[in-house]
Amino acid sequence: MNEVFGAIHAAVQTVENDPVLNISIFAAFVAVTLFIVIRASRNNKTAADYYAAGRSFTGPQNGFAIAGDYLSAASFLGICGAIAINGYDGFLYSIGFLVAWLVALLLVAELMRNTGRFTMADVLSFRLKERPVRMAAAITTLAVCFFYLLAQMAGAGGLVSLLLGIGDQIGQSIVVAVVGVLMIVYVLIGGMKGTTWVQIVKAFLLIGGAVVMTVWVLAINGFSLNTLLEGAVAASPKGDAVLGPGLQYGKNPWDFISLALALVLGTAGLPHVLMRFYTVPTAKEARRSVVWAIWLIGLFYLLTLVLGYGAGALVGPETIAAAPGGVNSAAPLLALYLGGPVLLGFISAVAFATILAVVAGLTITAAASFAHDIYASVVKKGNVPPDGEVKVARRTVIVIGVLAILGGIGVQGQNVAFLVALAFAVAASANLPTILFSLFWRKFTTRGAVWSMYGGLGAAIVLIVLSPVFWGTPTSVFKDVGVAIWPLNNPGIISIPLGFFLGWLGSVTSRRAEDRKKAAEMEVRSLTGFGAEKAVDH
């Protein structure tokens, strides 16, 4: 066995010292998607074209795009690595990401599609006082997008050191800048249509690559899950423990419970996921997209279970932990073990494509929210020329892209893994309560919405800042300094109930009743689709 590890190690060194192959596969992906984006960008005049791709995608297409948007590098590399090293707990983590889609399917997707136009705030401000609610919804949207974007950009830097063998600060900064510039180009030229195609292509490549590797791993193990698990147990220094819970979350189970709450309730409140529902012509297509997304995402996490244990069995947890990139190197090293440098190059390119597709989706969501909610509705009170809003959105894309590049370079070397969990926590605490209340509770008021959104957002951020993520441990932002006041790394267990509670409290203490007619209109439209935005005819 030592010889095999030695060979892998040597191969990793050579491949990483000669990253031409990885870069050329990634360049091919960029060339193909850029071509598609330019072709798709011919009808990008109106807001409906730019933000919602003319509402012309089919359910299955949008389902692939949702999967492409949702399966970030963190889920692919992170979960494979977590299973390879900690076994069961990595699998436990992945399940929350899938189950969460039932909230979107049952409670949110179709009703949102029927009542909104471009952004989450459209729905939330439908029957309440428009400006304060829209402003609050835009701020929580921007906060979620910002946290998620920063995590992805930082991940891009980290991935480079792993895949291209670029370890120095300047090299990593250049790659972050390249990712950022490509993202700006995609979103500027392609709008939502181009972004969607990038996500569809990426989902195909990611799931296709994972299927090939899974079949390969299973073939080595005689298509027996049991043999695979035996191999993982034999290769792990922790032995049997990888089959049961506790290796990753055993120290403080409440931390994981808090995280699980945020995952399950946050997904249906992620603004870039919600915005995808507007790219299809009807609520029925929105339903079909979620169904496709659930099958694809479920399939993908089943594959990562095999890939994770496969990486543990075939590459070995110790080799993975020692490789540059640590946990995140499990899937690339497994690819190298199975298919040599070519498969490694392919998987590396897919990982980059993943980051690119996710940041593009986040950027167009943030830009749409700024231009449509803050600029057009709150600042200009709706008095904007037809093309004015899209013009502002495009400028916002550039600003966000530059900020993302600077942020991605700025946080290098920092431990920013908490940002993804924070994005989910904010979505679950600030967005989901208001979404559910405004769709299902007639007595919900403007005050309830505003309290819930600012309260949920504030609580999630304050708790993170008071937590061990920032204070007192060797992995904290302030290393070994001070003591964390709040003991958990995840704020959800407090901030999510608080978000719901504030929504209720604000509503029952409101003196001003909301517009009864608007409430009835929203209910009728959300369930019947009467007056819903139609697809654009070109």
Binding site: Y88, F91, L92, I95, G96, L98, V99, W101, L102, V103, L105, L106, L107, R117, L225, N226, L229, E230, V233, D240, A241, L243, G244, P245, G246, Y249, G250, P253, W254, F256, I257, A260, V264, K284, R287, V291, I294, W295, G298, Y301, L302, F440, R516, K517, A520, E521, E523, V524, L527, T528, G529, F530, G531, E533
Partner: protein, 117 residues
């Protein structure tokens, strides 16, 4: 667009409160909520039961069922199965029961709107 649509709806004299209180709409609303609320609560309970077992009954979850397959792994795979099953059940229900009702109400409203134009 929404603005022109609103004007058309207004001139058609569509009274949303009246529509909302009408028996067909109330039936649709009840049919939707009576299906999605219990299902949403059920899957959340089942998921958190699984999370709590993984957190506080680690030994039970690590019990081997056959070979290296543990209770925890089977319950985890059960989460996938239940998610897929609920998805299919909802789609079947929505296609069969909800869509015809919502289409009837929508078409009625669209006719009233078109008649007033």
């Amino acid at each position: 667009m929404t603005e022109s649509h609103d004007r058309a709806a207004e001139s058609a004299g569509i009274d949303y409160i009246e529509v909302e209180e009408s028996p067909p709409f109330q039936r649709l609303k009840r049919a939707q909520r009576a299906f999605v609320f219990p299902l949403a609560i059920a899957f959340l309970l089942w998921y958190f039961a699984y999370v709590l077992l993984s957190s506080f009954a680690a030994d039970f979850m690590a019990t081997r069922v056959s070979g290296d397959i543990t209770v925890g792994l089977l319950l985890g795979l059960g989460q996938f199965v239940s998610t897929f099953a609920i998805t299919m059940a909802y789609v079947a229900y929505a296609n069969r029961r909800l869509d015809p009702q919502s289409r009837a109400i929508r078409e009625d409203l669209e006719q009233r709107e078109a008649g007033a134009r």
